[in-house]
């Protein structure tokens, strides 16, 4: 440390210090007297100056919630910390300290002006959260890598930058490089960048910048695509029919179904599967489209409802405002009449009249409110009935479509079973050779065992069990599963049945998910509407009461003052 305060003890940022600073920097003169009288709350302070105080550690600032401007320059701070709560901060000065890394600024999203002049920073980073940054001062630091500049490209509002006194500013290309990479910059090292320099810089670094831009654009496009896809999915989710506009459900049915996959190698099954898939997907798409349509309908219904409710409330408010305006006019004139009146009995009489007016206003306002509550209740109930009906209808239709899916599955199951059994019979009979699909038959041929080339051709039917056991021993990893299935009828039936069960389960799960989700949505919606209405009602009643109380107390005050007079 090469400063005057070097010899002094580091100070702690304690309550006394802060209070003193606040008091000194607060309002002056008359206002200052008032402030002293009342005391200033830390959270009302908007700007705070704590320079030349030999502070080592930032602390105790969490109370200054609304602070806009904080000056901590010329201290011996080594680490940026304790600023997490100051989210409204716009202006932060940490110059002339001993900071080594930029950190602890992630919550200061409103920061526009950051000064870290004369510190020991060697790398620009951890500033990602500062999207509004306009002025950045990093002079007299130890930044030595030009690539730090590229990091600053993400700050779209950055207009002023100072980097002089860093190792990089010695580089001959320093100015050009910055001008080229930060084209929106207006001031560099406290000087305005003229257009000529900008052009030159652009020309000089054009290729690298273009490349950079291209990369950035690609990234942007990818992000946008991702976002669009996400939005689309979100939309489908609100319609409760996500992933139904394709073969997703079908694929998921077969994803965990090993038997089914195996069985699909049987002769004729692949065609069957293809047809089955097509039909299934068509139904799924039907459900999907129906869901979207219903969602649109529900949305329109909800919109109409909220619009109507809004209109009703607005109208009611207008009436209320009108009533209050009338009352205030009358009230004002009667108040001035009271003030001009000199005889006490008359005054009392008039005050009584006034308070009668007030209570009448109260009655009127409350009547309006009660009327609105009744009307709204009726409407809300109607809406609830309609939306529940709508949801019920939707569920019913989806269920019937799902049932079609199940029928398809059953049908497919039967067919598959048939094929499987016939295949088994064939195997048992021994005329597998002709019927086995090519890929199955080809298996032994393509085996790596040189001793078994042309083996399958020589196997006769009586050798089958032996062959199988041979295969089990030698070529386990390919042929075993399918042949395992065709051991006897029970196995094959079980396998097909298991596959069928899995499929049905998947379909059921999807259906259940849809139904529960839409039901819960519906109940939540209705609950919210009811709750909102109740809240609104309470708020209005509170408001009316408050107003009436105020009016009444004003009258009472008048009474007292008159009596005192």
């Amino acid at each position: 440390m090469n400063r005057l305060c070097d010899s002094m003890e580091p100070k702690v940022m304690d309550d006394d210090m802060l209070k003193l600073a606040v008091g000194e920097q607060g309002p002056q003169e008359e206002a200052g007297q008032l402030a002293k009288q009342e005391g200033i709350l830390f959270k009302d302070v908007l700007s705070l100056q704590l320079d030349f105080r030999n502070i080592l550690r930032i602390d105790n600032l969490w109370q200054f919630e609304n602070l806009r401007k904080l000056q901590l320059d010329n201290n011996i701070i080594e680490k940026i910390e304790g600023l997490e709560n100051l989210t409204h901060l716009v202006w932060l000065d940490l110059s002339f300290n001993n900071i080594e890394t930029i950190e602890g600024l992630d919550t200061l999203v409103n920061l526009e002006d950051l000064s870290l002049f004369n510190n020991r920073i060697s790398k620009i980073d951890s500033l990602d959260a500062l999207i509004k940054l306009q002025v950045l001062s990093l002079g007299n630091n130890q930044i030595d890598n030009m690539m730090n500049i590229v990091y600053l490209r993400r700050f779209k509002c950055l207009r002023t930058l100072s980097l002089s006194g860093n190792p990089i500013s010695e580089a001959e290309d320093y100015k050009m490089f910055i001008c080229a990479y930060l084209p929106d910059l207006v001031y560099l090292d406290f000087r305005r960048i003229d257009d000529h320099t900008k052009e030159l810089a652009e020309a000089k670094h054009q290729y690298s910048i273009d490349e950079l831009k291209h990369r950035e654009n690609l990234m942007q496009v990818r992000l946008q695509d991702e976002r669009a896809r996400q939005e689309e999915l979100e939309k489908h989710k609100t319609a409760f029919v996500e992933h139904l506009n394709g073969s997703f459900l079908f694929d998921s049915m077969y994803a965990e179904d090993s038997e089914g996959n195996k069985l699909s190698y049987l002769p004729g099954v692949s065609e069957l599967l293809e047809a089955y898939k097509d039909k299934f997907v068509i139904i799924c798409v039907n459900i999907f489209e129906y869901g979207l349509k219903q969602q649109e309908k529900r949305k329109i219904e909800l919109d109409t409802f909220s619009e109507c409710v809004h209109e009703a409330i607005q109208e009611n408010q207008e009436q209320g405002k009108c009533k209050i305006a009338q009352f205030e006019e009358k009230h004002l004139s009667s108040l001035s009449a009271i003030q001009e009146e000199s005889e006490l009995p008359n005054i009392e009489k008039m005050i009584l009249e006034c308070s009668a007016d007030v209570s009448e206003l109260f009655n009127e306002l409350m009547m309006l409110e009660m009327q609105l509550v009744e009307q709204l209740e009726e409407t809300i109930n109607m809406f609830e009935r309609n939306i529940v009906d709508m949801v019920g209808l939707f569920i019913e239709n989806v269920q019937s479509l799902m049932a079609q899916c199940r029928d398809l599955e059953n049908h497919h199951h039967e067919k598959l079973l048939e094929i499987s059994i016939s295949t088994l019979e064939k195997i048992v009979k021994g005329d597998l050779d002709e019927d086995l699909p090519d890929d199955l038959r080809a298996v032994p041929m393509c085996l790596a065992c040189p001793c078994h080339s042309d083996f399958s051709l020589t196997i006769s039917s009586w050798e089958r069990p032996f062959f199988i056991s041979f295969l089990e021993n030698h070529c386990l990893w390919i042929t075993r599963p399918i042949y395992q299935l065709f051991v006897d009828k029970d196995t094959i039936v079980n396998a097909v049945g298991a596959s069928h069960d899995i499929h049905l389960l998947k379909i059921d799960n999807r259906e259940d998910e849809l139904v529960t989700r839409i039901n819960s949505w519906c109940t939540r919606l209705v609950d919210k509407i009811h709750k909102d209405e109740i809240m609104r009602n309470r708020k209005r009643v509170k408001e009316i009461n408050q107003y009436i109380d105020h009016m009444q107390s004003e009258l009472d005050n008048l009474e007292y003052s008159d009596i005192l007079d």
């Binding site: 309002p27 008359e30 409710v309 009703a312």
Partner: protein, 874 residues
């Protein structure tokens, strides 16, 4: 179909009978009629005219008496083109056809008046009416639409009544002549208008028919002035919004329906009575206004223009009266009948009965039963499809009856004999004859002037009267044009004495409307502004003796309204009267629009500075979901506490009601700061009010000056009036002229004197050319040398003289008087100057002479007359 057929047959029968009757009639008159017709054609001479004149003098027409007669004596026919004075063979043929047509017509319909087919033109040549129409599209975009066109015709021409109100005129002049003299009868009017309308694409026809007295005499005194008629406010039908699905039900109505009904009934009765009274009143008025019955009703010949629907997006047929330029529906009761109509292609006779004015007429010119056409085969609208059968049958009948098919079929209308209609820009601008026109309407008088005719820019004035006799002025409206102060309309209401000036955008003070009773300040007045042109966004400032109200819009501080109340001025000593003595302000009320950037409970909606009571009241905006708004009231009386210290702020100095109480607003510090802020604002507002007062004074002063000066602006494109541009243009022309002269000079022909020696018109031989060149060059060289010698000689002479003088001076130096010495010195300096100049000239000549010589050589080399030289060199 059967019914139709029957009907047709019936009609046919009737027609046949009619035809028979006509034949009978014709037979009896056959001998006389043609002769008569011929007579009419040929002997429309002085005798007839004298007759007419006599008749005319007998008939008392108030207006015509004043108007100068428009006779052909005043027309100079010598300059008219040939087509005016003679007929082409085709036209002759057409006339024959027309005669034939007319004969047949009078033969068939002897009870109808003879047709108006070929009146004489200004050169006493019979011309067919259709050829008198000269369709012309005017070069002025203002004349593209029928309404402006008709207005122009009615403004441009002065109306002359028909010589005989019961007959069509014997002469029909060409539109060019009519335009020249700016006078004409109804036929001239409608011919001109029809030509212009057809030219701009309308399906327009000239109509020869019968009109009411008012119509024929262009008497508008029974008509309401169109300018006084207020545009009917189109009552926008409130669209019955279908109640939405979830619209809340209205609260139950607990009023007695019976009582309501009774009430409604009672009110209806009252209203009915009122209505009845009103109607009676109206009837009485109508009675009073009604014209005296006209003895010649239905017989007065008039001509107007018919525009048929179809072209130029005209939705339905209508009439235009060319005198007034107004349009009328074809049902109008002022049009009493139609004899015939024509356009530039054909001529139709109305065969329909006009007992019910023109109300029952059907303008389907393709229907030969209703409209008898003269020429066949013009591309006129065919009969509508539904009646096709009908027409076919009738067509045959007519053809048989008239027997004209054979000769007319291939004949079409010859081209118009009239020259192209031209209106000079000056005449177009001046519009009315002599630039002035007065029209008397019912309870109103409209005066029109040409722009720049009046020095104050007045172009029209409408005076509205209370009574029919036009004695009590109700209000005056004056329209101005080209005023430098952008004054557009001045409206004076005589009953309330309220004057209102309307301005176009561009006044230096951005005035829009200024209504006032007197130009004295601090009186009732309303000034409206073009708020976009003002920095402070002021829209309107209203003043009364004690208040001033300002309305604003679009300000960054969202101020919308400021109202100041004044107390009467305190009478001060005469000392202070010289300075401004503003009235003391009692109260300033300011209102603000909602500032969306601030939360509602911090956004002030209204603040009232009660200056007299030292109080400030604030009212805040109401939040969207609330019905009450926060309020705050500051007492800014400075008080002193018991110890003599100034009390800065106490809780009772600020009374506030908050909808949603907040912590920080309860603090005294906050309140103190708010109050300080308000104090500053109060000062500013007071200053603003004071400035507004000053501004009003300034505006009034400016207005007075403008009224006194009433300068007119002249467009820079107006080459005639704009003096500046005229001067500039003239200067430019002068410069151009001089430039031209100089150029001519520089192009002096060096060869001319040498060429003159040679025989003219012969081509030069090479030898000649070379000699010519050499001569020219040597001559030039000689001249250069001469010039050099001349300068040299002068130079020497001057030096010699100077030397002599110097010698003389040195000899007589001793005896010289100071005056002589001075003389000598001045001579010396002058001589030195001359010598120096001569020296310079000589030097320059020496420098330039070779160059000049070379330039001439070059020029001669390039001279086309010495082309021989070039050839050789090339």
């Amino acid at each position: 179909m059967e019914v139709l057929r029957e009907k047709v047959e019936e009609e046919e029968e009737a027609e046949r009978e009619e035809a028979a009757e006509r034949a009978e009639w014709a037979r009896t008159e056959k001998m006389m009629r043609p002769v008569e017709v011929r007579k009419e054609e040929t002997t429309l001479t002085q005798e007839m005219l004298r007759d007419l004149e006599k008749k005319l003098s007998e008939i008392q027409i108030p207006i015509s008496a004043e108007l100068p007669a428009f006779t052909k004596d005043t027309i100079d026919i010598s300059k008219l083109p040939v087509s005016y004075k003679t007929n082409t063979p085709k036209e002759e043929h057409l006339l024959q056809v027309a005669d034939n047509f007319s004969r047949q017509y009078s033969h068939l319909c002897p009870d109808r008046v003879p047709l108006f087919l070929h009146p004489l033109n200004e050169c006493e040549v019979p011309k067919f009416v259709s050829t008198t129409l000269r369709p012309t599209l005017m070069p002025y975009p203002e004349l593209y639409n029928w309404d402006s066109c008709a207005q122009f015709v009615s403004d441009f021409l002065t109306m002359v009544p028909l010589p005989d109100p019961l007959k069509p005129p014997s002469h029909l002049y060409s539109s060019t002549t009519v335009l020249n003299y700016q006078k004409g009868n109804c036929f001239d009017f409608s011919t001109l208008l029809c030509s212009m309308l057809i030219g701009s694409g309308y399906d327009a026809y000239c109509v020869n028919g019968y009109g009411s007295l008012d119509l024929c005499h262009m008497d508008l005194t029974r008509e309401v002035c169109p300018l006084t008629v207020k545009p009917k406010e189109t009552v926008q039908k409130e669209e019955k919004v279908l109640p939405k699905k979830y619209t809340i039900r209205p609260p139950r109505d607990l009023c007695s329906r019976f009582e309501q009904e009774q009430e409604v009934k009672k009110q209806q009765e009252i209203r009915a009575q009122e209505k009845k009274q009103l109607r009676e009143e109206e009837e009485r008025l109508m009675e009073a206004e009604k014209a005296k019955p006209d003895a010649l009703h239905g017989l007065r010949v008039h001509s107007w223009v018919l525009v048929l629907s179809g072209k130029r997006e005209v939705p339905e047929n209508f009439f235009i009266d060319a005198f007034t330029g107004h349009s009328y529906s074809t049902q109008d009761e002022r049009f009493l009948g139609i004899e015939s109509l024509w356009n530039h292609k054909n001529y139709w006779i109305n065969m329909q009965d006009c007992w019910n004015c023109c109300k029952d007429l059907i303008f389907d010119l393709g229907d030969p039963v209703r409209w008898e056409y003269m020429l066949l085969g013009t591309d006129k609208s065919q009969l509508s499809l539904t009646e096709e059968d009908d027409s076919g049958i009738n067509d045959e009948d007519d053809v048989e009856n008239l027997g004209k098919e054979d000769e007319d079929k291939s004949f079409d209308m010859p081209h118009s004999w009239v020259e192209q209609i031209e209106i000079s820009p000056e005449a177009f601008e001046t519009r009315c004859p002599n630039g002035k026109k007065v029209i008397q309407y019912k309870r109103a008088k409209l005066e029109k002037w040409a722009p720049y005719l009046n020095s104050n820019g007045l172009v029209s004035r409408l005076t509205t009267y209370e009574d029919l006799e036009c004695t009590n002025i109700l209000e005056i409206k004056e329209w101005y044009q080209n005023r430098e102060d952008m004054l557009e309309l001045k409206h004076i209401n005589k009953t309330t004495d309220l004057k209102t000036d309307y301005f176009k955008p561009g006044h230096p003070q951005a005035l829009r409307v200024h209504s006032y009773k007197s130009m004295q300040p601090e009186m009732d007045r309303v000034i409206e502004f073009y708020e976009m042109a003002r920095v402070d966004g002021l829209i309107k400032r209203e003043e009364t003796a004690r208040t001033m109200t300002e309305y604003y819009q679009g300000r960054p501080d969202f101020l919308s309204y400021r109202h100041a109340n004044f107390r009467p001025r305190v009478k001060k000593l005469a000392l202070s009267s010289a300075e401004s003595n503003p009235r003391p302000i009692v109260k300033i009320t300011e209102q603000f629009f909602r500032n969306p950037a601030k939360p509602a409970e911090e956004d002030v909606a209204e603040r009232v500075f009660l200056l007299a009571e030292e109080r400030i009241q604030l009212r805040y905006h109401c939040r969207d979901d609330h019905i009450t708004a926060s309020k705050r009231e500051f007492l800014r009386r400075t008080e002193v506490d018991s110890k003599g210290n100034k009390i800065i702020m106490t809780p009772d100095m600020c009374i506030s009601f908050e909808v949603e109480p907040m912590e920080h607003t309860k603090k005294l510090l906050y309140q103190y700061e708010a109050m300080m802020h308000l104090k500053r604002e109060e000062k500013l507002s007071r200053h603003q009010v004071w400035e507004s007062e000053l501004e009003v004074l300034e505006i009034l002063k400016l207005r007075e000056e403008e009224e006194a000066a009433h300068a007119l602006t002249i467009s820079i494109y107006d080459t005639k009036r704009n003096e500046k541009s005229k001067e500039y243009r003239e200067a430019m022309e002068r410069v151009m002229h001089e430039e031209h002269l100089r150029q001519v000079e520089t192009q002096l022909d060096y060869l001319a004197p040498f060429l003159a020696q040679l025989p003219p018109g012969e081509k030069l031989t090479r030898w000649q050319a070379v000699r010519l060149k050499d001569e020219c060059l040597s001559d030039f060289k000689q001249r250069l040398i001469n010039k050099a010698n001349l300068i040299q000689a002068r130079f020497e002479k001057e030096t010699q003289e100077l030397q002599k003088k110097q010698q003389w001076y040195q000899e007589n130096q001793v005896t010289l008087t100071p005056e002589d010495e001075d003389l000598y010195l001045s001579y010396c300096s002058q001589a030195m100057f001359r010598i120096r100049i001569l020296e310079q000239r000589l030097n320059r000549h020496k420098e330039l002479a070779p160059l000049k010589y070379l330039a001439l050589e070059e020029k001669l080399y390039k001279d086309p007359r010495l082309g021989e030289l070039q050839k050789i060199f090339a």
